[in-house]
Amino acid sequence: MIHLLRRLLPVVALLTLCGCASGRPSPVPPGVILLWPPPPQQARIEWLKEFHGPDELEIGKGFWKRLAEVITGEEFNGIVRPYGVHADGEGRIYLADTGAGCVHFYDKKDGVYRRLTGSAKAPLLSPIGITGDGKGTIYVTDSASGTVFRHTPGGEFLEPFIVGVITRPTGIVYAPRTGEIYVTDTANHKIVVFDREGVRKFEFGLLGDGPGEFNHPTDLALDHSGRLIVTDALNFRVQTLSATGEFITVFGSSGDSSGAFNKPKGVAVDSDGNIYVVDSLQDAVQIFDPSGRLLMAFGSRGSRPGEFWMPSGLFIDGKDTIYVADSYNNRIQMFQYHGRQRQPAALSVASMPSGR
């Protein structure tokens, strides 16, 4: 026994030293500020950080986990090809990783990282959209198996929740006011609404290009009055509908220039009601006011901070932090929206911070 401990001592010492090392250096060199629009204009969007896995969020592995990994080998917990993001505004982030077939759960508050998968009987094949009820339960759509999965706090796996009702579920959003769950059925061009028990309540939408009609709708978002924003992907537009599916407004057209849509995906709303739409082929996020006028866009093609490579999912939490799933860069980038009243800290051109 003593012999075993003596052999373990150098291992333990090494791991402790590893634990003392700080997180990765910032990818943004000192003196570079990522703001849109650029100074001297009033900044609205500020780049915060990016992460490829739990390390950059400073969620370290526990000591025992690292010790176990000396024997079992490191478990791969990086992001592969992310889509849906959901954050509760208190440091918990959920990420649907289509490429890895799992949901990553980053809990900055408790310093925990978990990798949630389906069970062997019901695997997660193609997770796309993710939403949560604010009390720890999350819902994930699996577009390949036609299933909506659910994870309750304390559960080990994602369990099938809605099976067989939807052909290809993609976007999903939970409405806290009514306790309803909206799920997009992309293949059938409609949105189906369920209650918290998974019972179908009603649905709306059909194939077409008229008001309230869709052509392969995908992502969903709710604004603060409970209205539903839908990415109507192959009609190259974004529609706003009431909570019961009545058409309210629409904007957008097909094109590769600002204000037009090339391949719109994730959609979200900030606290001022502005609508953000990710465009995967423009490698940018476009921002529109509630009536559909273009406000600005940020992002371009690349792999550096502030650049995207075919981004997809989008989420804005209650504190106006924007999460963009930068799919082919295998990372999530986080930005901050500064509304008309608020300004980012390091703004003045004269004062350049020494680094982040």
Partner: protein
């Protein structure tokens, strides 16, 4: 217990389907309007070409380049500019810091592949799915950042956005100048358009050419050495005509799948343990070859799965142990099918024993594999059968042996598991890599103990005595051979030697005074052949000495002949001594009874 019928059905159904992804079958139509890429709102299956809405068919991929125009005041149409940054419509504020090492990761989708992947990501259309069950937790199925280096491909899907011929080091690719014109490279970069034509679904799956007979789409670029008529996986072999026909039609698709693979390495399908494993005891078999096909004897000539259930076998390694270009000796000794067989070249000609092939020339089953020769040099490809066995059973690899603890095996006076030394022995050996050392007596060749047809200068194969896949007999013997377990059965030796009519008679020369056949008398007292004889050869490097101590493959088994048994064969007949200084079978020279 293998559920034979279900696996057979599974295997055939699998092969017959070919590619596993939901196949949008081709019809005769070459028009996009009849294909699944007709995404317009009026594509309900009823073709209404006159409808004005049909003009919108192209817009889903061919984005118009006009800027959005604000027509709220019709007299003054304005190009829309963002309200929050009027001067700079869509620009990143990234002040470029100069770093020559920063570049986009290799293989990030570019060109037309971006267009395909922007829909085929699981939302508008299904994309690359994750494999099914993951029983081996160490084997993760990742299809992350497409690695452009073909040699270390990590993705579960055929890599894209990589240069064709830029930095490729192997000659097994067709020159891009002579490529089939229907395969469209974009400035020598492979994109989705190399294999797919998004407008035309006449062959199914939007392929650019008909891939249903022998995978011409794959072989248009991939020119594997030896993939010709003698390769059983290409021709379908001669064992079973209907299965052979399916195999020959599937071509590359017998083993490979270009999208949605269960594991990443070599784009092999079914290479991960699935829900219906074939078990040996409680351990599931990890082999793409066995799980896909080679698991019954009516469709395939050799039922490898059955061989793997026998007591003695080349146990298959866990997945990912073998690396295609591993050096010899490899970091850890292992056996997988591809360690001995090249799936692209393997055929059936000239096997097994009794064929027209002259030992030690390699059979077609082992064609195209690297080997190690008697001087421990790597030969590519191996030209002799023993060179394939020497990959593991020679040199330092050879001495690194572990045996089944249940196996009772001899402990020889001169021990050397480096087989090249045993077959190279200058004293005594079976002629595997070299002919016999001394076979002439008085000017004439002496092969008396052999059957008449074998009495000539020829070598033998390892597989004349050993059954490489699995055997009920120890040491993977083909027949029984007593290794000291008391069965006294020598069917193995009888394959070539005249045991009863020569060895056991006075003709063998092992006599007492010329009248008593000593082989027979030893045998009748329960002494097995293996007590005195060591069949491979007596290693000179390990001390086989002249004269006479190790003639006639004598290398006593110390477990039975005594720890210091000696043989002195240098005297003439009648004077040889199997005596020993201390404990042994015989303590003094001369005939004995005990």
């Amino acid at each position: 217990m293998i559920a034979k019928t279900s696996h057979r059905f599974f295997a055939i159904a699998f092969m017959a389907v070919g590619l596993l992804i939901p196949s949008y079958g081709g019809g005769a139509s070459t028009s996009i309007l009849d294909s699944p890429h007709n995404l317009s709102v009026s594509s309900t299956g009823k073709v209404e070409y006159s409808s004005v809405r049909e003009t919108r068919v192209c817009i889903f991929c061919h984005t118009p380049h006009h800027a959005t125009v604000d027509r709220s005041v019709p007299e003054y149409p304005e190009v829309v500019a963002p309200l929050w940054s009027r001067d700079l419509p869509n620009v990143s504020t990234y002040t470029p810091y100069d770093s020559p090492s920063i570049k986009n990761k290799p293989g990030l989708p570019t060109g037309s592949s971006r267009l395909c992947l922007s829909c085929h990501d699981g939302t508008i259309a299904l994309g690359v799915l994750n494999g099914g069950f993951l029983l081996d937790a160490a084997l993760h199925s990742m299809n992350h950042a497409y690695d452009s280096y073909l040699g270390s491909d990590l993705s579960t899907t055929h890599p894209i956005s990589m240069s064709y011929f830029d930095g490729l080091s192997t000659p097994e690719y067709v020159d891009p100048v002579t490529l089939d014109k229907r395969i469209k490279l974009v400035e020598n970069v492979v994109e989705c358009t190399a294999c797919h034509n998004a407008h035309n679904n006449q062959y199914g799956n939007f392929l650019v050419l008909d891939n249903s007979l022998g995978s011409p789409l794959c072989t248009a670029c991939h020119n594997k050495a030896g993939w010709d008529g003698s390769a059983a996986h290409k021709s379908g072999g001669t064992f079973n005509a209907s299965v052979g026909g399916i195999v020959s039609a599937n071509g590359c698709g017998n083993c490979h799948k270009s999208h949605h693979n269960e594991t990443a390495i070599d784009l092999l399908k079914l290479s991960k343990i699935n829900a219906n494993p074939i078990n040996i005891g409680s351990n599931p078999v990890n082999s793409n070859c066995i799980l896909t096909c080679h698991n019954d004897s009516s469709n395939y000539r050799v039922n490898i799965a059955a061989a793997m259930t026998l007591t003695y076998r080349h146990d298959l390694a866990p997945p990912s142990t073998h690396a295609v270009n591993e050096t010899f000796p490899p970091p850890s000794k292992h056996v997988e099918c591809v360690d001995c067989h090249n799936p692209h070249q393997s055929g059936y000609a000239n096997v097994p024993l009794g064929s027209t092939l002259l030992a030690p020339a390699i059979s077609d089953a082992l064609r195209g594999v690297r080997g190690v020769d008697s001087n421990l040099q790597v030969v590519n490809p191996a030209i002799y059968e023993y060179q394939v066995c020497y990959r593991c059973h020679a040199g330092t690899n050879g001495s690194d042996v572990t045996f089944l603890s249940s196996l009772s095996r001899p402990s020889r006076v001169i021990t050397d598991y480096r087989e090249q030394n045993r077959f190279n022995s200058t004293i005594s050996r079976h002629p595997v890599s070299e002919l016999l050392p001394r076979r002439y007596a008085g000017g004439t060749a002496v092969y008396n103990s052999l059957k008449t047809s074998y009495q000539n200068d020829q070598k033998i194969f390892c597989s004349d005595c050993h059954e490489p896949h699995g055997s009920a007999y120890p040491m993977l013997f083909k027949n029984s051979y007593d290794v000291g377990d008391g069965t006294l059965n020598y069917d193995l030796c009888s394959r070539c030697h005249n045991v009863s009519t020569f060895v056991m008679t006075t003709a063998s020369g092992f006599t007492a005074g010329g009248t008593t056949a000593l082989h027979a008398s030893h045998y009748n007292k329960g002494v097995a052949c293996s007590v005195c004889h060591d069949p491979h050869g007596i290693s000179t490097a390990a001390g086989a000495a002249t004269p006479g101590a190790n003639d006639h493959l004598i290398n006593f088994d110390k477990n039975r002949a005594g720890l210091s048994a000696l043989y002195n064969g240098s005297g003439g007949p009648g004077l040889r001594s199997c005596g020993t200084l201390a404990v042994g079978c015989h303590s003094v020279a001369g005939p004995h009874s005990y």
